[in-house]
């Protein structure tokens, strides 16, 4: 927390940094929604959307934390939202550490889904079979389709899956946050200077693998 504060102090008192951030790379709330932006990019533009709050999954409903929202959607707001998220994440980690049980198994107790313990695999036929089936044929979800998304560092990371009942999916589609966030960069940069590309692009935090399709 101390390091975060020091880093922030160093940047927000820097004239060059402020010039490159404030009012640069603007994105309106309406355009952010229209382009499918999520995560800090959308929230900095004023879109109040965080899957951890709006559709809590796993144990997020047990944690007390705030979702920072910006107003202008410029580089400065994206920076400030991300800085605040660092602090909120630390809060979550502290609460999670407190609530985590000190011992005991953490996995689901169903050999059809979870790999057996290695010690058992070497000594019992049941675990050996379960290991073979899971590794060679894979987990077999029932027939049907499902979409599941989590709030990743850059926004909504979702997986759409169609199962035909076998160990390999019939169809998989990944909905990565950066694929949508990146397409907003064009509108952010319009009317700004060439040199503004660097901080604006940096504020998006694009992950290349998500855009490779």
């Amino acid at each position: 927390m101390k390091v975060v504060g020091e880093a922030e102090k160093m940047l927000v008192t820097n004239r060059i940094f402020l010039d490159r951030m404030q009012g640069i790379g603007k994105l309106s709330k309406e355009r952010a929604i229209a382009l499918g932006c999520t995560g800090p990019v959308a929230r900095s533009a004023g879109v109040d959307f965080d899957l951890r709050k709006d559709e809590p999954y796993m144990v997020y409903d047990r944690f007390d934390f705030e979702v920072p929202i910006g107003t202008d959607g410029d580089n400065w707001d994206r920076f400030m939202v991300r800085m605040e998220e660092v602090r909120q994440s630390l809060r979550i980690i502290e609460q999670a550490l407190e609530q985590m049980p000190d011992e005991g198994p953490v996995n689901v107790d169903d050999p059809r889904i979870v790999l057996p313990e290695k010690r058992e695999v070497y000594t019992t036929i049941e675990a050996t079979i379960a290991h073979f089936k899971l590794v060679m044929e894979g987990l077999k979800p029932p027939k049907g389709e499902v979409y599941c998304a989590i709030e990743a560092g850059n926004g909504e990371l979702g997986f759409y899956l169609v199962s035909d009942g076998s160990g390999t999916p019939y169809r998989v589609r990944v909905r990565p946050p950066c694929w949508y966030n990146l397409q907003a960069v064009r509108e952010m940069l319009m009317g700004d200077m060439i040199a503004d590309i660097i901080p604006t692009f940096g504020s998006i935090n694009m992950i290349g693998g998500e855009c490779d399709r």
Partner: protein, 536 residues
């Protein structure tokens, strides 16, 4: 057709069908080990127990553990019945998925795995093992027994083809029933009882009849393994293509199991066909896959002995064309093959007819060691004699063809001065051909014709092409390419089309389908019926 209900689904059945057989015909599986559609009912594995919910209910007294009282108390549960033995009746309601049935399946599975060794990593059955398949589906729990498993003999040699592992055996007796009922040679039996149970050979005997690999094929677990396939490949890496056995004129349907990473065929498995081979194949037939990789001709050769030159595929086609242009057609003999697909024979006959050839022979295998039986093995050890004869009739208008022995005689008498032959096998002594200038042989394997060839043209084997065999019953059976052929090697018909094009007789076929269309409806069943079997 009368019907009964299985888990609410209407299943039609014929009078006399058991529940499991009717369900199997309808494509619904009731888990089972000992039942096999081609064998008698043993009802000993108890995996197929189902609950008959219609009619008078039978209850079984049991002792049930009461959590509150912390002791066993008397209780009852529905009496389950084996679906493999119970005959289906009109309006019967069968439940194979209720909690009671699931519990029974889970307990049977627990029993079967009670003394099972931890062998999956070294077991050839792993990947197609019913114990594995059913474990996650029907047990998915650990056994309660904590003591050392019972140990029994491992790696017992049952005969030249089969090895037995008693520890893996679940005593379903399928192998015993194959020997008793299919082969009629009761060489296997069971001894002892309970967990000392094991399969044994009759004293002084070996498992050495002609269908030993069928015992391995029906074995639902890894107790019986084929010595040929042992430790060669993991079955989950194998892919499968539908094939037709080349061993004899029965034309048993097979699965050709191959590894696409290496382009290698590892084994054959019988493919169910009620019209031809039911569920079975003979040992010799199961081994015919070896010809795909052994004694193969892969390099084109021009010349014989010391003058032999290994050349490229294009060069050998040019050489064949040059020679065929010079050859006097009247003394040219063309040899069809009962070992090759109808497509190959058809294109060869069609091209030869266009070139003005009128001397045709049929090379067919005559194997002294081959013995026919009443089960599957046909007296004629050629997969496509009927198909080749049908080609001779349809294309050439010939009622029959002389064999290779007559060819050799005609060569000696000087009537035949050059030969174009298909296939490796001559079926007779063709040494006389070695004196001829032009003996053009298209073949996949080494053999009598390849030995006397002056121009050797490699072609694909049956596993590397799409084709058709006509069996002794007159059925045309298609087979499908499993593995890729070597570089530049094409099916014989394709090579012949290329040769024909250079000779100015373009047949224009590019795909198997075009050849089949040109062959027309293969309805000359009387040609098949008239196919003479070789003398015993």
């Amino acid at each position: 057709m009368p019907t009964f209900k299985l888990n609410g689904q209407e299943i039609p059945f014929e009078q006399g069908d058991t529940i499991i057989r009717a369900a199997w015909k309808a494509g619904v599986e009731i888990p089972h080990y000992c039942w096999h559609p081609g064998l008698s009912i043993a009802a000993n594995c108890r995996m197929c127990l189902v609950h008959i919910t219609s009619g008078r209910q039978m209850a079984m007294p049991i002792l049930k553990f009461d959590e509150k009282k912390q002791k066993y108390v008397p209780d009852t549960k529905p009496k389950l019945q084996p679906a493999c033995q119970l005959q289906a009746q009109e309006g019967m309601e069968v439940d194979s998925a209720s909690e009671v049935v699931k519990e029974a399946q889970s307990h049977v599975q627990e029993f079967l795995l009670l003394n099972h060794p931890v062998d999956c990593p070294i077991c050839d059955q792993a990947g197609e093992c019913k114990l594995q398949d059913y474990y996650l589906e029907h047990q998915a729990d650990f056994k309660r027994k904590r003591t050392e498993p019972v140990h029994k003999p491992k790696g017992v040699r049952f005969g030249p083809t089969i090895v037995y592992d008693a520890e893996r055996c679940i005593m379903c007796t399928r192998c015993i029933r194959v020997c008793d009922e299919l082969v009629g040679d009761p060489v296997l039996d069971m001894r002892e009882r309970g967990n000392r149970n094991e399969i044994v050979l009759a004293p002084g005997r070996e498992l050495d009849h002609d269908y030993t690999l069928m015992t391995e094929h029906v074995c639902p677990v890894g107790a019986l393994t084929s010595r040929d396939f042992r430790f060669k490949a993991r079955v989950w890496f194998l892919k499968s293509a539908p094939g037709v056995c080349t061993g004899c004129a029965t034309g048993c349907n097979s699965h050709v199991d191959f590894d696409q990473r290496y382009g290698k065929v590892y084994r054959l498995r019988p493919r169910d066909n009620a019209e031809v081979n039911q569920f079975w194949m003979c040992d010799q037939g199961m081994m015919t896959y070896q010809a795909v990789h052994e004694r193969r001709v892969v390099t084109p050769v021009i010349g014989r002995g010391e003058d032999a030159d290994k050349v490229l595929m294009d060069d050998v086609v040019d050489e064949v064309v040059t020679r065929l242009e010079a050859i006097e057609r009247g003394s040219l003999a063309v040899v069809l093959s009962a070992q090759h697909a109808s497509e190959d024979n058809f294109v060869l006959a069609t091209l030869a007819k266009k070139l003005g050839v009128d001397r045709f022979y049929l090379a067919a295998k005559t194997d002294e060691g081959w013995k026919a039986d009443d089960i599957l093995k046909h007296a004629d050890p050629n997969p496509n004699r009927a198909g080749a004869l049908a080609v001779a009739k349809d294309v050439l208008g010939l009622g029959g063809l002389e064999d290779a022995g007559q060819l050799a005689a005609d060569v000696k008498s000087g009537v035949v001065k050059s030969v174009v032959a298909l296939g490796p096998i001559a079926g007779a002594d063709v040494g006389a051909l070695a004196d001829l200038e032009d003996v053009i042989v298209l073949t996949a394997n080494e053999g009598a014709f390849a030995d006397v060839a002056s121009v050797l043209v490699p072609v694909t084997s049956w596993a590397e092409m799409f084709g058709t065999f006509r069996n002794a019953e007159g059925m045309d059976q298609h087979f499908v390419r499993a593995v890729p052929a070597g570089a530049d090697i094409e099916p014989a018909w394709k090579t012949l089309v290329a040769i024909g094009r250079e000779l100015g007789e373009d047949l224009g076929y590019q795909r198997t389908g075009e050849v089949r269309a040109a062959m027309g409806p293969r309805a000359s069943a009387e040609a098949a019926a008239a196919a003479p079997a070789p003398a015993e």
